[in-house]
């Protein structure tokens, strides 16, 4: 009798322990997240900047019409639903959305915002995203209709890009821009920005978003703290001075993973890195010279050495990441072939080699450390490089103004193949820093934009990527991996594959 009693009592006690474990896995509201960032934002107005830093710090203060989720799919944002016909898209907006100044968001705000981006007077770097729009108008307080000049398949991807946000007209008109008072509809309100120190956000009580029925966000406050030095940033995480860092340098990934208090998240991202060539500077204007370079560059050596084996994945021959539906099917330059490279140099009349300058930035390790290796690899085919390194603040304007012969750079796309190809390879496009101009590529890129059928688009973009491989405006080296790292008490943060920190919307602290 007594033994049965004890067994039953023990059983009850054991079952009583379980609910305690279940409780600690449910998100907890509250707390401040201290986030270590690489660099300061460049302005706070998402419509006016190209800087990833601004985008990353402001993308949780604002919302876009549609959003990209952590798997790269387009999901509803401020628009609940939409219908598309070749030339007309209609969006139905959410009804319970408020700006941080209390005013409800309506269709007029969407029309105003997209028009602001399109307007040449705004000088938005993303104006080209909406060049195919003929008109956009509100149909009632919660309906928006967009009419296109031509069919434009990438429209949703452009609307999802996290600087193409919906903004309040009266604030822009009063202040001239959103650089002082960035008011949006996002889960966090802007509080303050102290240059070179920190940028502070607090929870917005009015946010429309939910996570499995729970109101978002969980965090009360986010403090972005700036650590231009990557090693200092990683050290700050190790010591607990910050809770979360972006851009974990390749040299730190292994040791941070081994730290029991830290979790490293991330992997393949949507950036590509290449050796950019100025196609108009002789002798690089000869395609054979550029092809020779493509045969001489040893991608694996660069990744293993400069990036510690973790900082990137060998390029598959495209600016589109691997495993994307539209990624090219093969890479012409499938191995290092120095003989072929030297042959091409000779055919180009450069058998004796020549000197050139490789201009790089000293700020980002993944853009700097490949330089010595590229110098050695191209030296083997007679191209003698001298390296000039400059700080990012000096480097970027110079590179964007195309004042280089060779440089190491790259950009990113979102989900649509047009994102990865049009801006970099269309004649005269803003990110075509190589002065690349090819009539066939231009024609195919326009065709790809106007085609709706996925299979047909895939064929078109395959041709584009193969032609780009043949003409080598840049030597593609690797697809980036990107890592964030958090201390173990930071939960619910998901890595986005396209350099977005929308994962902060569902982040919570377990103590």
């Amino acid at each position: 009798m007594r033994t049965w009693f004890i067994v039953i009592l023990a059983g009850l006690l054991l079952t009583g322990l379980q609910p305690l474990e279940a409780q600690t896995t449910a998100p907890v509201y509250g707390g401040t997240l201290r986030a270590g960032m690489q660099t300061d934002p460049v302005g706070l107005d998402p419509h006016l900047t190209n800087a990833t830093a601004t985008r990353n710090m402001m993308e949780n203060v604002f919302d876009t019409l549609v959003m990209i989720d952590s798997e790269g799919k387009v999901v509803p944002g401020l628009a609940e639903s939409w219908r598309a016909s070749p030339l007309t898209w209609t969006f139905t907006l959410r009804r319970n959305v408020k700006f941080h100044n209390g005013r409800p968001m309506t269709a007029d705000d969407v029309v105003y915002s997209i028009n602001r981006i399109r307007d040449p007077a705004t000088k938005s770097p993303r104006a080209g995203d909406f060049a195919e729009i003929e008109s956009i108008r509100a149909t009632g307080p919660y309906g928006v209709t967009i009419r296109l000049k031509r069919p434009f398949s990438p429209l949703l991807a452009k609307l999802a890009f996290s600087t193409n946000v919906i903004v309040p007209k009266e604030v822009v008109q009063k202040d001239g821009d959103l650089n002082t008072n960035p008011i949006g509809t996002g889960p966090f309100r802007f509080v303050s920005y102290t240059p070179q120190q920190r940028l502070v956000l607090v929870r917005s009580g009015d946010y429309w978003g939910t996570d499995q029925g729970r109101r978002l966000p969980y965090l009360v406050r986010i403090e972005f703290v700036f650590f231009p030095d990557a090693v200092a940033r990683a050290t700050a995480l190790r010591t607990g001075a910050v809770d979360w860092i972006e851009y974990v340098p390749s040299s730190e990934v292994q040791s941070l993973r081994a730290d029991a208090n830290i979790e490293v998240v991330g992997g393949l991202s949507a950036n590509f890195r290449a050796l950019y060539i100025n196609n108009t500077v002789p002798p690089f204007n000869n395609v054979k010279v550029r092809q020779a370079m493509a045969w001489a560059i040893n991608r694996k050596e660069i990744i293993d050495t400069a990036l510690f084996g973790v900082g990137g994945i060998e390029s598959v021959g495209s600016t589109i990441p691997p495993k994307n539906f539209y990624t090219v099917s093969r890479n012409v330059y499938d191995k290092v072939d120095l003989n072929r490279a030297r042959q091409l140099m000779a055919e180009a009349g450069q058998a004796n080699g020549f000197d050139a300058e490789l201009y790089v930035t000293s700020t980002y390790d993944f853009l700097r450390t490949p330089a010595e290796l590229i110098q050695a690899q191209l030296g083997r085919i007679g191209i003698r490089l001298r390296i000039v390194a400059a700080d990012w603040s000096v480097y970027l304007p110079t590179a964007l103004a195309k004042r280089f012969t060779l440089t190491i750079l790259g950009t990113s796309g979102q989900s649509d193949p047009d994102d990865f190809l049009y801006g970099s390879f269309k004649t005269g496009a803003p990110l075509n820093l190589n002065n690349f101009s090819d009539a066939e590529v231009d024609r195919l890129l326009e065709q790809g934009r106007a085609t709706a059928d996925q299979a047909a688009r895939k064929r078109i973009y395959e041709q584009v990527q193969l032609r780009v491989q043949e003409m080598v405006p840049m030597v593609l080296i690797f697809h980036s991996t990107q890592f964030e790292a958090v201390r173990k008490h930071v939960r619910g943060f998901q890595h986005w594959p396209n350099t977005s920190y929308l994962g902060l919307r569902t982040t919570w602290l377990s103590r």
Partner: protein
């Protein structure tokens, strides 16, 4: 009386026994040995090491010390000891040229200003006040941001920031000698300004300048290291100690050896110049101790 005045007219450098006392001074011995080692390493680098300081060898990267690589290898597989030795050439050349330039311009300005005085002296003093108001390294960084980096610009920048301090020392040395009895005597005898300057003032005023120059060489090594650490010096892949430390810092969690090599080299060189400078000061004029 006259004989003692004449005795002090002899240059303190030429005083008998200076060389012997210097060679016996422990500081001079240690400092001298250190500097000789650094200098020999820099000059004889090709004989001391079979490796190319610039050629990459990725399979050998980030190794610790071993037989073939006494100080290990860096991120690109380059031998650290080799780069330290060749880097010494750049660091010593920059420091030497910068301080020489500084001495020729600043030292001369100071001597001229101290000897003749007047409005030229006043002007030079105000100019040097302005220069000395800036923290030296920040001024150098500002100059290099304007001029761009590279070997000759760093030489120029360091020379500029050390001109005022050397001018001050030169001026002070001349002023302290200017009113000595033997100078007045020479003037009374009808000697020209230049003759007084050349035969009586300068020989006795060089001691402080020599000491200061030696100490400035130490500072110049540090300045060059700081500037190339910031990426403002000689451009990669040429080895400079400062840049090697910057690169070593980026991989510090992996291995600290790439940073230890150049750090030791800088320490040895700066210590060497400091010890030697102190010893020279002790030997040439004990009165200077404490300045």
């Amino acid at each position: 009386m006259a004989s003692s005045t004449l005795a002090s007219a002899t240059s303190s450098i030429a005083r008998p026994g200076v060389r012997r006392r210097l060679l016996r001074h422990p500081g001079a011995r240690i400092g001298g040995v250190l500097l000789l080692a650094v200098l020999a390493g820099a000059l004889l680098a090709p004989l001391l090491t079979p490796y190319d300081p610039v050629q990459v060898a990725p399979p050998q990267r980030l190794q610790g010390p071993s037989g073939p690589h006494p100080l290990g290898t860096d991120l690109y597989g380059r031998d650290t000891l080799t780069r330290v030795l060749y880097g010494g050439r750049i660091s010593l050349a920059v420091a030497g040229l910068a301080v020489l330039l500084s001495l020729l311009v600043g030292g001369v300005m100071g001597i001229v200003s101290g000897f003749w005085g007047g409005w030229a002296d006043a002007l030079m003093m105000r100019l040097s006040d302005i220069m000395l108001a800036f923290p030296a390294i920040l001024l150098a960084i500002g100059l290099l941001a304007f001029l761009g980096g590279g070997f000759w610009n760093v030489v120029l920048a360091i020379a500029i920031i050390y001109t005022a301090p050397l001018a001050r020392v030169g001026r002070g040395a001349v002023i302290s000698v200017r009113h000595e009895e033997y100078v007045e005597a020479a003037r009374a005898l009808g000697a020209s300004d230049l003759r007084i300057l050349g035969r009586h003032v300068l020989p006795n005023a060089t001691a402080p300048l020599i000491v200061e120059t030696t100490l400035r060489l130490a500072l110049a090594i540090l300045a060059e290291a700081a500037l190339s650490f910031l990426g403002l010096g000689t451009q990669p892949p040429a080895p400079t100690w400062g840049q090697m430390i910057a690169e070593g810092r980026a991989v510090m969690t992996f291995t600290s050896w790439p940073a230890i090599g150049p750090g030791l080299a800088i320490t040895m060189t700066v210590l060497g110049f400091n010890l030697l400078g102190d010893a020279v000061r002790d030997v040439l004029d004990p009165h200077l101790r404490g300045t």
